[in-house]
């Protein structure tokens, strides 16, 4: 296993042979070869015989080659909480998980609510292992009481706006954010949570929270705000993206909004289609996140949403925390889990279960996130940038503590047996992660 930061990785020509090329945008799912030169895809087809000096040949029998995975929801913790994660360590974890690009949420310290923080993240990303698309805050300091400088942040390179981690309670502000974001062609990403209902909550509300004596977070806390933001999007005519959908009713609301022609997209995270609240067990803070893990019924609805197109993307909500935040009383433990290195194996489990096809998996993890954010990627078209991921769908491994690449280790999937993973990640023709051996 080897990692190469972008600024040190070379632009060697690469010939991938005999792989299963899955490229839904171009209607491709067949075996063949793919040639990369000078950072771009220059040819696809069968039995390519290029004559490039220094060409590296990579045989892909039994493996898939897909557009580079894009995670539209991560927390890189830099600036401010570098002991949990940095742009470098987070993008390295991304590369290990097959991701060529990540969108970094604004709840850093200080909050990414201005061009200086946005610029800093871009500077750090140049020495990282993946493309980083900063997401700006909806309001200064995510305080929820005014509009941040969307225009200046856009110029500095944010691709979207979000209230992630600190939801906008004030409906008027959310409405104005949707309207004003339109001036700067920025998507608003909603963290849907009605704080009056979720405040002090530590896990899903139900018999288990009662048994554990933990204050519950009812599903309606999410659903009310999903509905509000869908209503505001419809009223303003602006697009909205709903982050980390976790309940059956939220899926239904989004499905109905799409049927009505509302410009809505939505994501869920691997833990919401893999785990239920039972993972909390006896106060295991590694299963504490916001929104909380729900029930088997919600998991079934999330899977259906991924299958039928209601949910557009799988995003990790990668949220690194150290033991300082996790090895404490459950109520006091921080929300969130790391997810970059386990997202693809967990999504591949859905393919084996027959919930989604390999092609749909690529849509959920690459095509749609890139399209929703309006960034390059999601395609293996000739002449496009060579952002691609090689997947070995049969590779078996146990996700152990010592192989976690992220700086933080807060995963409920520790010691899980997994099947399928990324074995090579290429960003603009540069190999960032090589796990072929």
């Amino acid at each position: 296993m080897a990692f190469f930061p972008l600024h040190e990785s070379s632009l060697q020509p690469l010939l991938f042979t005999n792989g299963r090329i899955i490229d839904p945008v171009n209607g491709v799912d067949r075996s063949g070869d793919l040639l990369v030169d000078n950072g771009r895809i220059v040819a696809t087809g069968e039995k390519l015989q290029p004559e490039h000096p220094g060409l590296r040949r990579i045989g892909l029998a039994g493996k898939w080659i897909v557009p580079g995975l894009v995670d539209m929801h991560v927390h890189l913790r830099e600036p401010g909480e570098e002991y949990k994660e940095t742009v470098a360590s987070g993008t390295k974890a991304a590369a290990a998980g097959g991701f060529t690009a990540v969108a970094a949420m604004p709840n850093t310290k200080p909050v990414n609510d201005n061009q200086a923080v946005t610029t800093l993240i871009h500077v750090k990303a140049a020495a990282g292992y993946a493309r980083v698309y900063p997401v700006g805050a909806i309001s200064p300091g995510s305080s929820g009481d005014n509009l941040a400088e969307y225009g200046e942040m856009r110029r500095a390179g944010v691709v979207a706006l979000s209230d992630d981690g600190r939801p906008v309670s004030d409906s008027q502000l959310m409405r104005r954010a949707l309207e004003y974001a339109g001036n700067h062609h920025l998507l608003v990403i909603s963290h849907a949570e009605e704080l009056a209902l979720s405040r002090h909550g530590a896990m899903n509300e139900g018999s288990l929270s009662t048994r554990l004596g933990l204050i519950g977070i009812p599903r309606v806390a999410e659903e009310i705000m999903v509905y509000r933001d869908l209503a505001l999007a419809r009223y303003t005519g602006r697009p909205i993206h709903i982050a980390h959908v976790s309940t059956r009713e939220a899926v239904s609301l989004i499905r109905r909004a799409k049927e009505m022609g509302c410009r809505v997209t939505a994501e869920t995270a691997p833990h919401y289609f893999t785990l239920t609240e039972e993972a909390v067990g006896r106060y295991d803070a590694r299963a504490k996140m916001n929104p909380p893990l729900r029930t088997a019924d919600d998991v079934a609805a999330i899977k259906e949403g991924l299958r039928d197109g209601t949910l557009d993307a799988i995003a990790t909500d990668h949220a690194p925390h150290s033991e300082l935040e996790k090895d404490v009383e459950f109520d006091l433990a921080a929300n969130g889990i790391i997810g970059l290195e386990t997202a693809l194996p967990l999504a591949l489990a859905l393919v084996r279960e027959g919930v989604i096809t390999p092609s749909r998996l690529v849509e959920l993890l690459a095509v749609n996130p890139a399209r929703i954010l309006g960034v390059a990627g999601g395609s293996l078209a000739v002449d496009g940038a060579a952002d691609l991921t090689v997947i070995d769908p049969e590779r078996q491994f146990v996700y152990t503590l010592d192989q976690i690449v992220s700086k933080s280790k807060n995963s409920p999937f520790l010691d899980w047996e997994m099947t399928g993973k990324a074995v090579l990640t290429v960003v603009g023709g540069r190999i960032t992660y090589d796990g072929l051996q």
């Binding site: 009662t210 554990l212 004596g213 519950g216 090895d327 009383e329």
Partner: protein
């Protein structure tokens, strides 16, 4: 061949961990210890040389004293520590506090803490036995055991009885342990109170939810009122104590449908005239003070058993 029963628990954290056999055994041992507290010299050497720390992050008079009396009557050395419940704001985590205490090699740490799961967190990190004396709104196992002991003493059995628990079920760790305990022992448990204080999914812990106090106490062998915990109420939950007393307080009128010899219980401290009419609390069916007496015996039994018995 019948295998011989052995009590094997190192910690007492939750009624969930105990089998009906365990509960039965604890109550029998407690019963045999009760007599020690009636002797002129109220002390036996059973736990001589053992160190017991009372680590109470929440104020408590009765439970802390009850544990201390229990430990002293077994000749253990006891120490009381009452860190501010906000020790985390001083920078020391619960795990740090626990590890520091553990470094002094205590045998048992009895913990009361405002956060649910704190006792289990402690048990994960230290070698000593941990006894949960109330963690957040989770459980209070020794209280449920002393309640069961009291009922068994008076009624001769637990199986087949009907136990009504009335009041703030959401925030009551006593209710949670009692629902688990009594239903584990074959009793039927009904609960009632303002709908705002009946938590989601309480049925799955073994309780039947009744819409009125009268319905809950109908034919009951035991009626237990819970303390209204003003300190735990962050949201609007009841309009006023007066309205609560009028509609959910235990009075002669609400008790009309209960069995004539129904036991009246309360875990204390009692808000007189709120959860219960004083005439009922002090009346002939009340066993509130016997609960306190049995508390010492149950806690002696628990300390003895987690130290390996014999």
């Amino acid at each position: 061949m019948e295998t011989e029963y052995r009590f094997t628990h190192k910690h007492i954290l939750s009624l969930d961990d105990l089998s009906p056999q365990d509960v039965d055994y604890i109550l029998r041992v407690a019963d045999s210890f009760k007599e020690i507290s009636e002797r002129p010299i109220k002390k036996v050497p059973t736990l001589r040389g053992k160190t017991v720390i009372n680590l109470f992050f929440e104020p408590s008079t009765r439970t802390r004293l009850s544990f201390e009396v229990a430990a002293k009557r077994l000749s253990a050395d006891t120490f009381n520590i009452a860190p501010s419940s906000s020790s985390t704001t001083k920078g020391e985590t619960l795990v740090d506090t626990a590890c520091n205490l553990a470094a002094m090699n205590p045998d048992i740490i009895i913990i009361r803490h405002p956060n649910s799961g704190a006792a289990r967190l402690l048990a994960r990190h230290i070698n000593a036995s941990v006894l949960n004396a109330g963690d957040g709104t989770h459980e209070h196992p020794s209280q449920a055991l002393l309640d069961m002991m009291t009922v068994k003493e008076k009624k001769g059995r637990l199986a087949g009885l009907k136990v009504a628990i009335v009041g703030d079920i959401t925030h009551s760790r006593v209710a949670h342990s009692n629902i688990l305990g009594f239903s584990k022992m074959g009793a039927t448990v009904t609960v009632s109170g303002p709908a705002t204080l009946l938590p989601a999914g309480i049925e799955q812990m073994g309780a039947t939810v009744c819409s009125s106090v009268e319905e809950a106490v109908a034919d009951a062998d035991v009626v237990m009122a819970l303390r209204i915990q003003k300190e735990r109420q962050r949201d609007p939950l009841i309009p006023s104590l007066r309205e609560y007393a009028n509609f959910f307080g235990i009075t002669a009128r609400t008790l009309a449908g209960a069995k004539p010899d129904a036991l009246i219980m309360h875990p204390g401290p009692l808000n007189r005239g709120v959860e219960m009419d004083p005439a009922i609390a002090d009346g002939p069916r009340s066993v509130i003070l016997e609960q306190v007496t049995n508390g010492v015996a149950v806690r002696m039994a628990l300390l003895y058993l987690i130290m390996g018995g014999d």
